[in-house]
């Protein structure tokens, strides 16, 4: 880790454009922030009907007792995998191309986890009763495993976002960014001394190892709220890995959408290059194939078993009322990304954006296809139900997306979206390190032929 002399010398600072949104915020920031806050406040005004009249104002009914709120909960938590998990894996594997990506990925995790984690509270007819988990929670319930796992992941992700930000916060402090007290407070006395660098390196290493199993466990545990029941379409042993793969898949797509959007807004073309999108789009392509494999296995097993209650859910999705959503999901998650990302000619930045958008929509449809059809066709002999979300649910969905955008807007106003010290470290140290590493990978020199060795002796 290095803090280059270029930072303080007062001479030309090579990464000045990364600090520009913080040091010279444009008027666009205020406009966008105001608009987003208005959208969020508007949604809460609409939601107040639910506070007054209860869940009757939503489309939830018997037997479909979970709808948009839980769909969005699983969807947002899935997207949160983009960040910390991808960032930790890339750091751990010493992938040098990670440097301009990790910060954005980590921000997605923290912002989206906060949004997603709040959704189950919206799903309560009496939201204040969420507080009952403090006194009368049942820890053997998978719902409470979610609470513990998401809180742990949120804490680990926040620490993992904050620690590598310290040198950049100190840089902003030294460059007079305002409010000064905030940067002084958050920099924790960073001066870039060798001892401080060592401490920070060690802390980042511990957190990146800790965060990977925590991230995997979070989405596994979320799958358990479905898989631990005996509902048709949910009771599956592969739901844990299926959810983890889906989460990574949607996470990479969301990350690329964010990267492409911010690259355009803040003119980050010099940092976020085609090569970064190429690597990430290959990961997205592999995830798409893996997702298809899991989906195929899941539905083939159900079809082959031919159990009546399972088949009701199966046909509800394949040919019934949810067929447009199911086949839309297959098109968005498999056909569109595979066709676009397999060919170099279409793997352009606009092409990647379209593929990523398709995946994000497709993964949302997947969550919808998991949650609603199983509840609409219960194992018990009740008539099939139907679910149409109400304005309140759509409004809160809009508020969730607006909150994500607001989170990014506020972050970009106060902190660099790309890790400056990591970029500088890359410039100064990564080329010799990479050469050294490559030399280690190559076979050792062949031993000298025996005759030469004998002559030498």
């Amino acid at each position: 880790m290095s803090t280059s002399s270029r930072e303080t010398s007062g001479q030309h600072f090579e990464d000045a454009e990364l600090l520009r949104p913080v040091l010279q915020p444009g008027s666009g920031f205020r406009v966008v922030t105001t608009l987003l806050i208005m959208v969020i406040l508007g949604a809460w005004v609409i939601f107040s009907r639910q506070i007054l009249y209860g869940l009757g104002v939503t489309g939830l009914n018997q037997p479909v007792v979970w709808g948009f709120y839980i769909v969005n909960f699983v969807f947002f938590i899935g997207i949160s995998h983009a960040g910390t998990l991808i960032s930790a894996i890339l750091r751990l594997s010493n992938a040098e191309w990670r440097r301009p990506i990790t910060r954005m990925a980590e921000v997605i995790t923290v912002v989206v986890l906060a949004i997603g984690g709040f959704h189950p509270v919206l799903d309560l007819g009496r939201p204040e009763r969420a507080l009952n988990i403090f006194t009368a929670g049942r820890l053997q319930s998978p719902l409470l495993w979610d609470v513990s796992a998401i809180t742990a992941y949120f804490m680990a992700s926040t620490v993992y976002l904050y620690i590598p930000m310290i040198p950049d916060i100190a840089l902003l402090r030294d460059r007079g960014a305002k409010p000064r007290w905030l940067y002084t407070f958050m920099a924790w006395g960073w001066q870039g001394t060798p001892r401080q660098r060592k401490v920070l390196d060690r802390a980042v290493s511990i957190m990146m190892i800790l965060v990977i199993p925590v991230a995997v466990s979070v989405h596994t545990v979320i799958s358990y709220i479905f898989a631990m029941t005996l509902q048709p379409g949910w009771h599956s042993t592969i739901f844990g890995p299926y959810f983890v793969v889906g989460a990574i898949f949607s996470g990479i797509a969301a990350l690329m959408m964010v990267m492409i959007t911010l690259r355009r807004i803040f003119h980050l073309e010099r940092y976020l290059k085609q090569i970064h999108f190429d690597h990430l789009s290959k990961l997205l392509l592999i995830s798409s194939l893996l997702w298809f494999y899991f989906t195929f296995s899941e539905y083939l097993t159900a079809f082959f078993g031919n159990e009546p209650s399972e088949m009701r859910v199966f046909y509800y999705k394949f040919t019934g009322p949810y067929a447009p959503f199911f086949w839309g999901m297959v098109a968005c998650n498999f056909l569109i990304p595979v066709v676009i990302l397999s060919f170099r000619r279409t793997r352009t930045i606009p092409g990647i954006f379209i593929a990523s958008l398709a995946v994000v929509i497709g993964m949302w449809l997947e969550r919808l296809n998991i949650v609603v059809p199983s509840l609409a066709n219960p194992r018990l002999p009740y008539p099939a139900g139907f679910y149409i979300p109400s304005l309140v649910e759509w409004a809160m969905f809009g508020a969730g997306i607006a909150s994500l955008m607001l989170g990014f807007t506020l972050f970009s106003r106060f902190f660099p979206l790309i890790s400056i010290w990591e970029i500088q470290e890359g410039r100064e140290e990564s080329i010799p390190h990479t050469i050294e590493r490559l030399e280690h990978y190559l076979p050792d020199p062949a031993p000298a032929p025996r005759s030469e060795a004998a002559e030498g002796a």
Partner: protein, 88 residues
């Protein structure tokens, strides 16, 4: 990097943030332990509760521990820098 003295109240705020982190982590750990006691009292699958807590509590403790390590390390590292300057 700047060598300007920091505001005293900011240093206090920094220390408080670490203390707050520990209050949060110990609060969550206490809550989980309370739920285990509840499950034992109600004979409501206490083994599952213990299993979950064995995974959850260490994650919180490690997170808070790492943050404290960084805070202490950065303060000591800064002092080293000041000591080196004053001796030279």
């Amino acid at each position: 990097m700047s060598k300007e003295p920091e505001l005293a109240w900011v240093s206090v705020l920094q220390l408080l943030s670490v203390v707050w982190m520990w209050v949060f982590v110990l609060g969550i750990s206490g809550w989980i332990i309370h739920l285990i006691r509840l499950s034992i009292r109600l004979n409501d699958m206490p083994t599952a509760s213990v299993g979950i807590s064995i995974v959850a509590i260490p994650v919180f403790l490690i997170g808070a521990g790492v943050l404290t390590y960084v805070y202490v390390g950065l303060q000591r590292g800064r002092r080293d820098d000041v000591d080196a300057e004053s001796s030279s």
